[in-house]
Subunit: 325 residues, 6 copies
């Protein structure tokens, strides 16, 4: 698709009003306190991969309600004795943790890398191994976006955001990881998760949010026809009488509210022809972000964003924010 | 789409081998026995609709695990003192029980009509009000077709088929309904549910299965690109190592195995240009059906099937199988 | 599709200039006078439907040029002795009167209901039984929108609008109908017909126009790619030298000019993601409507509009405008 | 699209059974006799085109029911005194006679060329100037294919085939045309018309039918999703109870029945990836053609067929069949 | 597609800033000087076509780097002794010179007509016979738009624009052509070539540029998703680091810079629903055009533009600018 | 798409006749002899990537006509002194060598890995840096498939296959590589290149061809509508008179003829719903393959084939064929 309604100078200034529930902080404080009743831990089992430069472990940690969340822990071979900086990585919509060979980059650059599985997804494009143990809590459009959307407490992303925070809690307990040098990172839904964690966990070293999803959600449902935002629109199309209820719930999960609280240095990326995560919504998040921030702009790209062209930038950012560690 | 691979004479003879697990009957006997530990009942509350010829009640009955399943009970006004024949109706994929005004036909023809809500669906095209209280039990493609598909005991349709049986149990308890004149009816997924119930409940008066879904499932995933069968294919596309596990589960839910057990008179319909429920799969079910049967063939139709053109046939069928009651 | 160019506050104020031929009133006065040379009457024959709560009659009345127009007259059974309020219903583009079982709502709510067939359509999605006895009167794009469009006197909708007025004339002659309590109603093309009748017939009880078509036609051809407005654009694409002739004709048929004359209470509905009848054109009509009016806004819907969610509103509106009758 | 179900050797032998009404010949004898009650004539008026090598005249002749049918008569300038061989050309579906500059080929090659306008079409891709003065005679799918299709006497193509025959009658009366050297020619619908004329008019010099439409119609509706055959399938989809009536009518218009009667030399063309006029239907016609025949096969083409690559073949064919004149 | 962002009054005033390299004139002076080191000539061989009113010759002339460029020279038969005005015609994107029978118009109107083949294209929709002897000079998206785009000297269109200028040089040498009455003409890419030649060759009689391509290129890549502009966007999508390099090259080839230099009378056409060559870009060119100019506006057309409806306008324009010759 | 025409048992036996030019071996012997006049060498320059477990070098080697071909040489860090087994990797259609971070797998598993750039491609989905220095040698459809296709000597793939062979020649000269343990590998076009090299180079350790392109080309153009095979069909569509010339050329490049000559152990993969490289064509190649072979079958996959699920199989295969080295 061609350039969207705003041009770049407008986007750089775009800072729409946020919709924030009064009890936003209380909601999340309660949610995390409940989850943290289960002590953090990271259980790992070595996996035979045929790889010689890195080690891979099958990881499990307690997420929302203490439910076991899977992941892969990938580390450079031969670094066992050292406390490494770590990248906690989150996955895009519809995918799961995939297979170990999909995750070579960060370990090849000297980082520990925990890839968190996505509960109940993992059937769309990469495999997953973590069920979502909660029921649907109401009618839902196919997909995850509207599971439990009529109630913030029952909404799918309350569980998933909590898992993402608990992944950070988990890596802190691991002897091979330096708890002062934790980055959270992801693209699309993974970027949205990274930003949510950045708003909920105070002492991260850095945040990498590539073409992040779940930012300025209501606006997104009004300006794009692309899934997964469209799942919300489709639900509202059927449940004509529940539109305000839906968006009341989503306000607890909108990335703008997390961005406004986050203080760690952040690297965003945005693509100006991105129909899935429209640039207007990504800039809205970036421009509300409270901590130090930078954004890579890709003018002719869609949701693929910077792709591996952005990798050197991400590696440099990670090096800069972890070098003092 | 144009006529599919087989022409009509071939379809009329098409009776492929069934894949039936050895413990198929035991699986369902156990499933239903467990569900029936919760006594059948049908709770109803009158609804104000502005309609004068029929009454509508908001209905609730215990389904799988005794979970409350919603429905609408629609009856001709002024028939309160009589035991009416009843049509238990099931809804197509992605929809819920909808709104009362959507369900005027059967009551306008003198039948009680219980429309069963579909747990956890109801976001796709008509509203629903019944959550699916079980979690995902593993990775899943968006939609209901692969929720829990790696284990027959955890599979979504185990719960939904049980609900459908329990709907029949529930109407039998109602003083305004004649338990000897129960029809089950539906189109697409609703037709699949009707056939499953017909294979599990012995003494129905009749079965109406229009362009039924969930018949010869594995074959369907090989010959059509249309959803929702495609959800299974998409899951297998990602989970390349779990294809046989998936189809082992689905064999417990394939309509061919229910059709081969059902004895009530059945009215099928099929559309020869139906890509969603390919005619080959519908004839496979019809040709395995054990009881008396007839099938309406619509040569130039897709999944809309006979539409209201088929209504007179359905009314006549219902009248003929309930007239002795 | 996502929200169109104007947002809701702008739409509520949108009242574009109308294009009205000087002889608009004379054109329609002549047209109706000619048609009314054939005395109004409503011939009906009972139809066996298997329905017990309503009666259905096959209806015929004289339309444009006295040509016989078909319809269904559906009434609550047992109301034969009373003069009922009536809903004269018009059908969407490409459809005909369909089958009796498609029209249970209004009679189930206590109204007589005359469903008017649509001349020469009825092949697109529901069956019709009324030919259009006039020839094409010039080249035409497939469909009805450009049949005779080079001359107002020969244009297809001159005949169809006249039929719609004559349907009202016809029901007034029926002993079971209260001529003081006539509503006209329809969705899409049906809504456009209802609005045209409201501008041409002075003493209606009410008008229900859901996502009405044929409003601000020229503008619509400039902003949407959807059929049937697109038929006009396609015709202009080929007949590049006849663009002004086309729109000169269409000005006699634009709903804005009827809305500006109509005085009966009106219930509109509009869907903000409707590409077929863009919200801008529906609000243009509503904002020009001369009588009392209300509009139901469906923000996440397309041309399906309010669907059965809107039914209670329509029933309440009908009850309020006919209660004094 | 890729090669269709039959490969070329099979196609060359494909000669399916024809469906021919008993009174086929009587039907057409009556139809033509009635039309010929209006004496043949060709009225022409010079048109100023800015062209120097050819002359163009606006032509009119009596068609079905004597209705005036438009056309262009294009001739090489300077040949006024001679009786030229003539090509009577028919136009593809949805188009009309277009503009004079569209028709330079045959006159540039030394032929008189009468391009017949297509009644009631001419809005789809090229302009037309001839109305279809008959009404719809029943419900119809948009387009011409189902106008009046419930009755052979009222069917659109009865009028159009008659026009096509009368175009030949008309050119015979013109002093600049040699009545012994008349070719009929067209592509798609134009080819279908040429073949119909070839079956109805005994003494033509030749027939050019490129990727002809209207051949083996029922089969075509079963194997292709492409319009305009699809119009018939769409009509049958709605009018489920009239399928046999539809095909009873169409049997009077199926090109196979005309091909089986035609004796003039014929040049067919066929494209093996043609979805609009599937090669199976074109070969069915060719293989039933009674006179001398040849066929140009274009293996990688769709409905564009041979395009201007086929022009030299067509010119050579025309020269060979008119050289004795 | 519906009307684009600007309405017609805005378009008529739209005159965006041009991006012109400082050495634009030097670049083209050098380029043409180098090419003109090969003396102009037009070699022709008669072709047997079966046509009687025109003659066709297979033509060859030296283009960029003296490479032989093919063409067709079509002339009215019998005009051999006179010096005729000539139309040098260029072809749309992806096509070649096609076949002689495709090019009857201009010769039928009394002009000599040289159709220039397009090097290295001719596989997309009409045949070509001229290779592009230069290599790719770097990575490229499929198609011609990005061949060599990283360097102005190596860019494909440097060669093609040069060919187009050399075609004019060639016809001047022909004894049957009047060198004072040369028009350049084309549609889409052909129109872009005509405008480039108009900016590079001082003494043309006229320019016909229908829906011209290659105007305001960078803007076009931002507002349309249609090919071939999209080829540039696709290249930039992959080569994220070369966006500025790409547009630095394209500035040497942007039609706005040629329009601003051209002095011959020009006839433009534009279609308001043209997604391939958006009207905004065509008006940008027209409004920068330095010489006398007119523009035909087609409001409901896409890239087919005026089609043969525009032919009389083009013939009249050609007559007016060559009449003094 | 659903399963193609043949089912798996048929595919396993499918061994169609090959079309092999008489001078096939001579053509390739000459081609390679000419290319090998330029001595093999592999020039490398270290690249700074931020990676710590592997080293990356920018590589250049002489390809067809000695032209410099780019690549990346990726090796496990710390293995500098040893001669490693090497994987020479080729890239899919439309892509180039991409960026270093895209190529971590093989080096992470202990292999040297040379990724060969693809001349003149690299604009479609991954970046490339190698021009195709030969011109178009005739008309061509956009893309590489028909560049020079009218002459085997000028055909694009003659240059590219030669580059692929020369990449193997180049790695043999490198001191860090064991010339007895060379694998060639790729997916889609990359798989086609690997098979071509396997047929042209006698002493490879193994071949990995995932969903290979360029196998049984003529058949592929008849059964799939997908690009890039479709480029050939599109060319034939325009150049109707050159179909046999095209396929005469392509016979020199058809993978079946290379497979029939190859002797190294081969690992194929095939996806049964692959429209891009239909399974019928992949099995045709596999079943003609002369050396030891195995094939991974992915029943529900399209052209993505086995994805990272296939990686362990590929690593095990590579280990088994290089373990003796």
């Amino acid at each position: 698709m061609a350039f969207l309604s705003m041009d770049l100078p407008e986007l750089r200034k775009h800072r729409p009003e946020r919709t924030e529930p009064e009890d936003f902080d209380a909601f999340w404080a309660d949610t995390l306190a409940t989850a943290r009743a289960f002590p953090a831990r990271l259980d790992t089992t070595p996996v035979e991969t045929g790889l010689t430069t890195v080690t891979v472990e099958d990881a499990t940690f307690p997420g929302h309600a203490g439910q076991p969340i899977k992941g892969w822990l990938v580390r450079p071979r031969g670094a066992e004795g050292r406390r490494l900086p770590v990248v906690v990585g989150y996955v895009g919509y519809g995918g799961g943790r995939g297979l170990p060979h999909d995750h070579l980059l960060w370990a090849s650059a000297g980082y520990a890398h925990l890839v968190m599985d996505t509960r109940g997804q993992g059937g769309g494009w990469s495999v997953g191994d973590t069920p979502d143990e909660a029921g649907s809590a109401g009618p839902a459009h196919p997909g995850s976006m509207t599971r439990g959307v009529l109630d913030p407490a029952a909404y799918y992303y309350r569980r998933l955001y909590t898992d993402a925070v608990r992944a950070v809690d988990a890596v802190r307990t691991h002897p091979g990881i330096d708890p002062a040098r934790i980055l959270v990172a992801g693209s699309s839904q993974g970027g949205g998760l990274a930003l949510a964690v950045a708003g909920l966990v105070p002492d991260l070293a850095g945040v990498i949010a590539e073409v992040p999803f779940l930012q300025h959600i209501r606006r997104a449902t009004e300006i794009t026809d692309a899934y997964p935002y469209k799942e919300v629109a489709e639900f509202c199309k059927v449940h004509r009488d529940k539109v305000e209820t839906v968006f009341r719930t989503l306000a607890y999960f909108d990335g703008l509210n997390f961005a406004a609280r986050a203080t760690a240095p952040a690297l965003y990326s945005v693509a100006l022809m991105d129909e899935v995560c429209p640039p207007e919504t990504v800039f809205a998040s970036h421009n509300h972000y409270r901590g130090p921030k930078q954004i890579s702009v890709h003018p002719y790209n869609g949701h693929e964003g910077g792709g591996s062209h952005h990798t050197p930038t991400a590696l440099a950012f990670a090096a800069s924010v972890t070098s003092a560690g």
